[in-house]
Symmetry: C2
Subunit: 168 residues, 2 copies
């Protein structure tokens, strides 16, 4: 455009006009990083929890009893991450892990009394932080953001699935 004559005369005007800040993956990554940092700090400072630990706590608190693999599905974490997070929670007396009586390989996760108390304390806090975020948007925007993200997630999962098939 302006200095086009100086350097290359390539037909890449589209590339020159590219604005990173309007690029959805960028926006998404930045938003997620912002929000994650907000939550990480809050969980770490007030409860000594990492995000994986918080997720396991949340999902076990919801289902009372859960296998690690089921926890992994609900929290979108792989088994390694679930294993580490629950080991940490167990070591702090927040979670109890027992054998699955119906399957020798399986384990069952369950909150201790202490873990349940923490859960009851953390959830409202998380919702409050979420509400703080929601304050920046109108109700309609908030709802549509949630819907769009949910849809994007399923769409990404679909893309990733087809990608795996193609590879190799």
């Amino acid at each position: 455009m302006k200095t086009r004559a100086k350097e290359t005369a390539l037909p890449d005007t589209a590339a020159d006009a590219f604005q990173l800040e309007d690029f959805l993956p960028y926006r998404l990554a930045v938003a997620s990083a912002h929000v994650s940092r907000l939550f990480t700090r809050n969980y770490a400072e007030n409860f000594g929890l990492t995000i994986p630990e918080w997720r396991v706590l949340a999902v076990v608190g919801r289902f009372q009893t859960l296998s690690p693999s089921a926890a992994g599905e609900w929290t979108a974490m792989d088994k390694v991450k679930v294993s580490r997070a629950s080991a940490s929670l167990v070591s702090r007396g927040l979670l109890r892990q027992s054998q699955d009586p119906s399957d020798g390989r399986g384990r069952l996760l369950r909150l201790t009394r202490k873990g349940a108390a923490l859960h009851a304390q953390v959830v409202p806090e998380a919702l409050a932080l979420e509400a703080t975020l929601a304050d920046g948007l109108s109700r309609a925007e908030w709802v549509s953001l949630n819907k769009a993200l949910a849809k994007l997630n399923t769409h990404c999962a679909a893309i990733a699935a087809t990608g795996e098939d193609d590879e190799e």
Copy 2:
């Protein structure tokens, strides 16, 4: 106390009902991780670029000449990340770094011919991948997602700013 009653008005009932998958920070983190992985793979396999490198490339390509600190602002990265990314780009002959004649501390980033060629090649690819993501949503959903994320970003920045003031 498993499912003692369907609904009691106690605070911990709210905690029991908490669904991680409807929690916006969770949705956002999962979506961002999905999308980031998609792009990371693509950039790495096809162009040998990491995401920070791609961001620097994009923003320098747009402004022709840019200081590292300005690049950091445009890419939402700290100076350390910019420094590493540009060092890597320089070492591969994609970027040139020179002294700022008006300030001995400052540097100026600028694409080499090779870097400009890569830029012209990567941007359409990125837009194509973005379009693939957009395919999963209606046009209106896509637009509102973008708007909502932009708004969320500015709101987060505001929250973080006030947080910093309070601390210590």
